[in-house]
Symmetry: C2
Subunit: 198 residues, 2 copies
DNA sequence: CACTGTATTGTACAAATGGTCAACAATGGT
DNA sequence: ACCATTGTTGACCATTTGTACAATACAGTG
């Protein structure tokens, strides 16, 4: 006996939210169609009706996750600092704060990252997202190098951008398994290390 | 009809190697008792006979992996540098080179890291390993701070050690999904950033 | 109201998986 | 030579999982 109807868009969104709930709780590897259906209080056949294959649900959940996670963008507050060094510091602070406010999103994203090691589609999807991330830092790093060419001998804008990404990732990743991880002390040390370039 | 016999130790080692083969190829989530047994050319009942539960096999594989991956240790060549800054640089270089020479180990370790997010036992196991890792850097960083107290204002030995771990992890993690990742440029930028302390 | 397309459900099924068990063979001690 | 221990196997079972399908209810249109 079929239940109430819903428009295509609403139902898909409802199922995706349920999928996020399940995946972030039990891991992307433990996501099952039936589990998602139960979470969404819907028959498991309906999930397949809307997503055809489990694979597609997993891919669409990644897209949903990337959108739902407020992706890095240089906020006005960050952009308002005149000195590139201050912008870098503000951006790092903003991102670390954001990540620690969305632990479930970060964990799930991390799951996808591990998956991406073996699945081409997921890898390229994550790769392009990371590229965008890196580019935001690259711009600031390039300015930093122009302002003080001798500050970081041997460094390049691309290299420094990758290092900045490591700071963010490393912080999130270490905090995930170490409950005593001190993000503030971490950020302060990063700032102290790069601070004398201004 | 039972096959040839083998001593307990040999058989376990053989199965663990097969488990590593399967897990590093298909991911720890796709590891099945039957898959491991097939890889080891042995009946799946035998795998259970030696490890009782799949969970135990997974745990012992982690131990095996940590042992097999030549864990960070300050080699004589690294320790021979008189200046702490040079030791740091040599250690970073050594670790990045090591990680890129064992890509399968790194990928699998990363899988376990993601697993550790949801499984207490694995998390603490990885956590203590990471702790050891961090301590090796902490020693060098502490010396660095003593030698040049004003070099990194606001930084602490613990914080800097965590940052160093991020460098290593970030490099490995980015290289895993970005085939164009340039580890040399990355290392050069790290060196340039910390280089002026010496 | 009849008709049509779509949303929804329960059932069914084959494959895979973790785990148990009885039988059986190799080994070593007595 | 007998026996207990231990390694090894194939058969078996219950459960889960992805997917297919037929039946049914609902909404909109003519």
């Amino acid at each position: 006996m079929p239940g109430k109807r819903a428009s295509e868009g609403e139902r898909r969104e409802q199922i995706l939210r349920a999928a996020f709930e399940v995946a972030s709780r039990d891991g992307i590897g433990s996501l099952t169609i039936r589990g998602v259906a139960a979470e969404a209080q819907v028959s498991h056949a309906l999930v397949i009706f809307h997503f055809q294959r489990k694979e597609r649900l997993v891919h669409e959940l990644l897209d949903w996750l990337i959108e739902a996670t407020s992706v890095l963008h240089v906020s006005e507050e960050v952009a308002s600092h005149p000195r590139a060094l201050d912008r870098l510091h503000a951006l790092l602070q903003q991102e670390i704060a954001r990540l620690s406010h969305q632990p479930r999103h970060v964990r799930l994203f991390f799951d996808y990252w591990a998956l991406g090691t073996r699945h081409e589609v997921i890898r390229t999807r994550i790769g392009s997202e990371m590229e965008r991330y890196r580019m935001a830092f690259r711009a600031i790093m390039a300015e930093l190098l122009v302002a003080e060419p001798a500050a970081f001998p041997g460094a390049t804008a691309n290299g420094l951008a990758a290092v900045a990404v490591s700071w963010i990732q490393g912080c999130a990743v270490q905090a995930m398994i170490d409950p005593n991880f001190d993000a503030d002390e971490y950020l302060a040390s990063v700032a102290g290390m790069v601070g004398r370039a201004g």
